[in-house]
């Protein structure tokens, strides 16, 4: 199993969570806004503590309430591409890409795959939405990630930028290096990108 997840957490009066176990490739979770998709990714990345359950990825246990395992985010090796990107504003694109990288060996290769090679000396605030999204994906890929989490990676992009980002994700998916979990509210997007699609919420 690539992702073996069964978690729930209280959020206000409601409870959010999900249970699924899936294999290699790109898995898409589809659900409406407010279904707790981002909370779910936060729980897998270690940014939000579930009230119970377990998170196992590629055979590694990242969280298990029964045995008291709860790895801090920096030891989970999650390549998390946030919906709001969260590029470091005080670092150039190159330094953003290399922030979590063990070394710079794969920089050129990843930058070329995501078509950001010409942006390396730019500041994040000068990037377009699509460029920033591709840099965020590159930063996650270069961070020695054991798996990728993509939170609405195509939202708030105009059609042309959307196509660029979709192609970038397809290239990452087809490289088959790490399992990918993506959440979206858009069913068409899910069908095009996902090796499998799971409805939640």
């Amino acid at each position: 199993m690539s992702f073996d997840v069964d978690v729930s957490a209280a959020r206000g009066d409601a409870s959010v969570g999900a249970r699924f176990a899936v294999g290699e490739g790109l898995t898409v979770l589809v659900g409406p806004s407010g279904a707790g998709k981002t909370s779910l990714l936060d729980m897998i990345a270690g940014l939000l503590r579930p009230s119970r359950g377990h998170v196992r990825v590629g055979g590694r246990t990242l969280y298990d309430s029964a045995s008291g395992i709860d790895l801090p985010p920096e030891r989970r090796r999650a390549g998390y591409v946030f919906q709001d990107m969260r590029l470091f504003p005080h670092r150039r694109v190159r330094a953003n890409l290399l922030y979590g990288a063990p070394d710079a060996a794969r920089l050129a290769e990843v930058a070329a795959m995501l078509d950001v090679s010409h942006l390396l000396e730019r500041w994040p605030r000068t990037l377009s939405g699509g460029e920033a999204r591709r840099v965020a994906i590159g930063r996650a890929l270069l961070s020695d990630a054991a798996f990728l989490l993509l939170d609405e990676p195509l939202s708030s992009l105009d059609p042309a930028r959307r196509e660029e980002a979709t192609r970038a994700i397809e290239r990452v998916r087809d490289a088959r290096a790490v399992p990918i979990l993506m959440v979206t509210h858009d069913r068409g997007e899910a069908e095009r990108l996902g090796d499998r699609v799971i409805a939640i919420g």
């Binding site: 920096e74 504003p89 996650a140």
Partner: protein, 227 residues
């Protein structure tokens, strides 16, 4: 002119010492107020801001009570280290530091609160431990505010008058910084020329601090829009 130079030198020594010694404390307090919830937080916040609202003479008097040989801090200093800060430049630096503290804490706290904590989370998922995320994300992003707080504190220190004169008196060559020297010259018949010179030096010093602050903020904020 050498007398003026000596006064400027003493003022810089007092202001610089006060700022550098207060900065770590101000940062720690700002961090606690910005990031932690603890019982008595409102009280701590109030105590820090007291020197801002209480008449400086009262602050100076309280310092005098605390640092007098019979006082709690003064007694300990004398017993354990055999030193006294009364009538000494070190006492002037303490007065200046206490008066500057609220301004520094305020500026640093605001800059820490303005750092988007989601960026720290991003750093954590990329493999950075808590301390590395502070060092590489939080601190650089708060740096302009920290620099501004330090310069604000320095400007306040070199202008401090009321608490200093009450606490450590007006001793030429030891506690007589620029503002105290101006006050002394005003009391001296025929001291107008001296007042002009001292006031000019005072203004020049403050302006230099302001320019330095601007430069620091720009430098620290390379990729970041400060305003």
């Amino acid at each position: 002119m050498s007398e003026l130079a000596a006064i400027v030198r003493l003022t810089l020594l007092v202001g610089g010492t006060a700022t550098l010694a207060t900065l770590p404390l101000a940062f720690a307090l700002a961090w606690a107020l910005a990031r932690w919830q603890f019982p008595g937080k409102v009280l701590v916040d109030g105590l820090i801001h007291l020197p801002l609202v209480v008449p400086p003479v009262v602050t100076g008097w309280l310092l005098l009570l605390a640092f007098a040989p019979a006082g709690p801090i003064g007694g300990a200093l004398e017993r354990w280290l055999g030193v006294s800060v009364l009538f000494r430049w070190t006492g002037a630096a303490i007065a200046a530091g206490v008066m500057a503290l609220p301004l520094m804490v305020r500026a640093i706290r605001l800059s820490l609160e303005a750092v988007d904590r989601r960026l720290e989370q991003a750093a954590r998922t990329l493999g950075a431990g808590r301390w590395r995320s502070y060092a590489t994300v939080t601190l650089p992003l708060a740096a302009p505010g920290i620099a501004a707080g330090a310069v604000l504190g320095f400007a306040r220190s070199i202008g401090e008058f009321g608490a200093t004169i009450t606490f450590v008196s007006n001793v030429p060559g030891e506690t007589q910084t620029l503002p105290l020297a101006i006050y002394a010259a005003l009391q001296t018949p025929g001291g107008e020329a001296s007042v002009w010179r001292l006031a000019a030096a005072s203004v020049a010093l403050s302006l230099a601090a302001l320019v330095a602050a601007e430069w620091l903020v720009r430098r620290a904020g390379r990729g970041v829009r400060v305003l």
